[in-house]
Homo-oligomer: 456 residues x 2
């Protein structure tokens, strides 16, 4: 019984014929496990707070029935357009454009994690509550963005999010009302389209070509329709990797100012530039505060480290922070602590420089290899940065079947696939080149070639 007094160590030692030290040791073990309490002057008692709980149950023999569908109504989910989860088997994975984890400075990162795990640091970061993200992280990121993006923002213009996706979701949720019209490219980033449609928007799709989004089409639409939001990826468009031309950028900026349009600029892989004179984000231009600029450090640090951000006028950031609170309450202050130190110490910049060098080589290596080995069945345009190639296969090739064969041979495509069964308009896919070394890329191309030319 909880609370019952136990015999003294002396008594029990005599009773059992054991040395008293043995009994003391046994009691100490029970005390450390919370089974027994050692009270001053009272001695050992059975703990009133036993670590094994005897919970009070009130069900009728049927335990937590979760096998059934619930009896209430809810919004069911649509089936997802392409597979996300793969069996954890051996083989080569082609991703949508993700960094090479082995470039990460593990020792430096471990140092920062060790520092962040210090009780005093944990207490310090827990004490405050900045609904836009921790102050340290916003300051560090603000400096980093001002130095690299040609913008001149203050921390009040910055919200930290769990990856760029949360920033897209929150920005769109503040702007879109059911029935609103949203202009997107065709094709465009599928997870952004899904957000807009989930919020009740009607998508108006405009073509994207070698110069990026067709802004003439945008202007035609704006002349006759009330558009609530435009979603653009001008740097390396997703999925096609094309960079928007200067002329189109100027045109779009004029339209934004004239119509006071809300614009989400998704700049997911700006940090990966293979050329000497890259384009600055559209957000660095004259948009009168109408461009909500969104990015992520996940493309630098990898999928395990999701930290995104939103840049916008202060009042919009405040509204977004309040909405973020409803979704996420507090941010990931632990990761924010680590990341702000990685930025401050210059480690993030060094990683980006190192990665750019490696990825540029891999990009050209893969493009050369594909031109040589599969130039008869697919087309590609070399991007000026980023982490993926957009491969357009000849229309007579049955891409879905080829990829099934490739999967059987150990090559799994996790990147965006636009093929029959998924999206019949294209016969194309994104082939991430950053995460594999040259041997891996060669092997992947070889399997792909075999799967195309030996259809068995």
């Amino acid at each position: 019984m909880p609370g019952t007094a136990l015999p003294s160590t002396r008594t029990l030692a005599l009773d059992l014929g054991l040395h008293r030290k043995t009994i003391v040791a046994a009691y100490e073990t029970l005390v450390s496990g919370n089974w027994v309490d050692n009270l001053p002057r009272k001695g050992f008692i059975v703990s009133p707070n036993l670590p094994v709980l005897r919970p009070q149950s009130y069900h009728n023999g049927r335990i937590g029935a979760y096998d059934a569908d619930p009896g209430f109504e809810y919004e069911q989910s649509d089936s997802f357009p392409y597979p996300l989860s793969l069996p954890a088997k051996d083989g080569i994975i082609i991703d949508d454009g993700f960094p090479d984890i082995t470039l990460l400075p593990s020792q430096v990162m471990l140092k920062e994690y060790r520092h962040a795990l210090d009780h005093s640091v944990l207490k310090k970061i827990s004490a405050g509550w900045d609904i836009e993200g921790s102050s340290d992280c916003r300051h560090a990121l603000c400096d980093f963005l001002n130095q690299t993006r040609g913008i001149d923002i203050k921390t009040d213009n910055l919200l930290i999010t769990r990856g760029a996706q949360m920033a897209i979701y929150i920005a769109a949720a503040l702007i879109i009302k059911p029935g609103d019209k949203v202009i997107v490219c065709e094709p465009s980033y599928i997870f952004a389209n899904m957000v807009f449609e989930q919020l009740g928007a009607e998508l108006i799709r405009v073509p994207v070509d070698g110069e990026g989004m067709n802004t003439e089409s945008v202007e035609e639409i704006l002349k006759t329709q009330r558009v609530r939001l435009i979603y653009i990826i001008p740097h390396h468009h997703h999925p096609t990797t094309v960079t928007m031309s200067v002329a189109r950028r100027h045109h779009l900026l004029r339209l934004i100012r004239h119509y006071q349009l809300a614009v989400i600029e998704d700049d997911y892989d700006y940090d990966f530039q293979f050329q000497y004179e890259p384009y600055l984000p559209l957000a660095s231009g004259d948009h009168e505060g109408n461009i909500i600029y969104i990015g992520s450090l996940t493309k630098v640090l990898g999928a395990p480290f999701r930290l995104g951000y939103m840049v916008a006028p202060e009042k919009f950031i405040h509204a977004a922070a309040t909405r973020r609170m409803l979704i996420n309450l507090r941010g990931d202050i632990f990761t924010e602590q680590v990341v702000s130190n990685l930025i401050r110490g210059g480690e993030l910049t060094r990683l980006i420089q190192k990665a750019n060098k490696v990825y540029r080589q891999r990009c050209h290596f893969l493009a050369d290899l594909l031109d040589t080995e599969l130039g008869d069945v697919l087309k590609l345009t070399r991007p000026n940065g980023g982490m993926a190639l957009w491969l357009r296969f000849n229309p007579d090739l049955q891409l879905t079947k080829i990829l099934e064969k490739a999967a059987g041979r150990g090559l799994r495509i996790m990147g965006s696939i636009y093929a029959k069964g998924n999206n019949a308009t294209y016969n194309a896919l994104r082939f991430g080149f950053a995460s594999l070394n040259e041997a891996g890329l060669s092997k992947a191309v070889n399997i792909l070639k075999t799967s195309i030319h030996k259809p068995k």
Copy 2:
């Protein structure tokens, strides 16, 4: 100019009258910084990919204008009912009920972080994409919940979220349509109320007393109105810390089955039980799959480590996972990796046992102290677990003014405050006792007493 050849080390050494090794070292520094490339047979050239970018600008002299309000329309945020962000000064912080960070097993956690930072582990966890949360973490958490909650769920019944707040948001978003009626207690957890209202729900408030939510009132409402959702916190109600009685639990379960009601059971601090026979969650009863059970490890691990979960029928979890993807794309697979190892190794259970012992003592210490020192101006009921006391001040006390005075004396209340200016119906606040030791609690009560009795 990028690409320009540099003089050979020999030539430059002769020209400058320096040792060749000095020149080689200087060149190597330039190469490691990406300023110079060392090409086989060609020698050193200015890198074609200089680390300083010369970005192509296309703005008209006005750089990224983010000082202004945007020109487009968006949903502004309401002002928040109580202050969240405090100046980082010295002083004692009374939180809403948060763990004592110094109880965390830092060395064990560091070991797990070191393991997770290993390139091979990072590669492994990055390769898959489980939209409900990583498989390892769901398995570990599923076992932990089955062992502690009296439920019998499978991993398919489990979704990992970024804290309990995201689980509440997603569950509510799948269920509530604008105009729907939602039953909540009065008072209830403010961030849940805000979610329901943001989704367009009409809140129907029912009283909560010493036995928890008044289920008779609930039944009366159900007889005449179509209710979409009930939100309950039966274990330690927020903010009042009361536990729902067995009779009310049975009554509510009958209502849930009869009306096939959607219920969110928020069980935020179930792990903190000060008694021998605690109540199991309502979710362990016979609810025919209608209770969405939500919890968090943040109350165990602290604010820096946010990991929540949702338990529901498999089809609902699938819909919730798809919605989570739109908000968060991928989960926090890094933290999930660390946490699943902490669960598997028994570390989480040990921490909970240790914390329970400490928090129970602090709870009684604080309650005794408040009874003695401030029993004339406030009432409290000792909770049977949790991390906070609910202090009801005499109606004639001006709580807001007292707290201002206390703040001036170094005591800052970050917990929920229900006082004039915030919520006039109550004159009460939550006083978290878990994060402070007895010295800190004594000091806090002393400042509070001085602020009440010496109103200067």
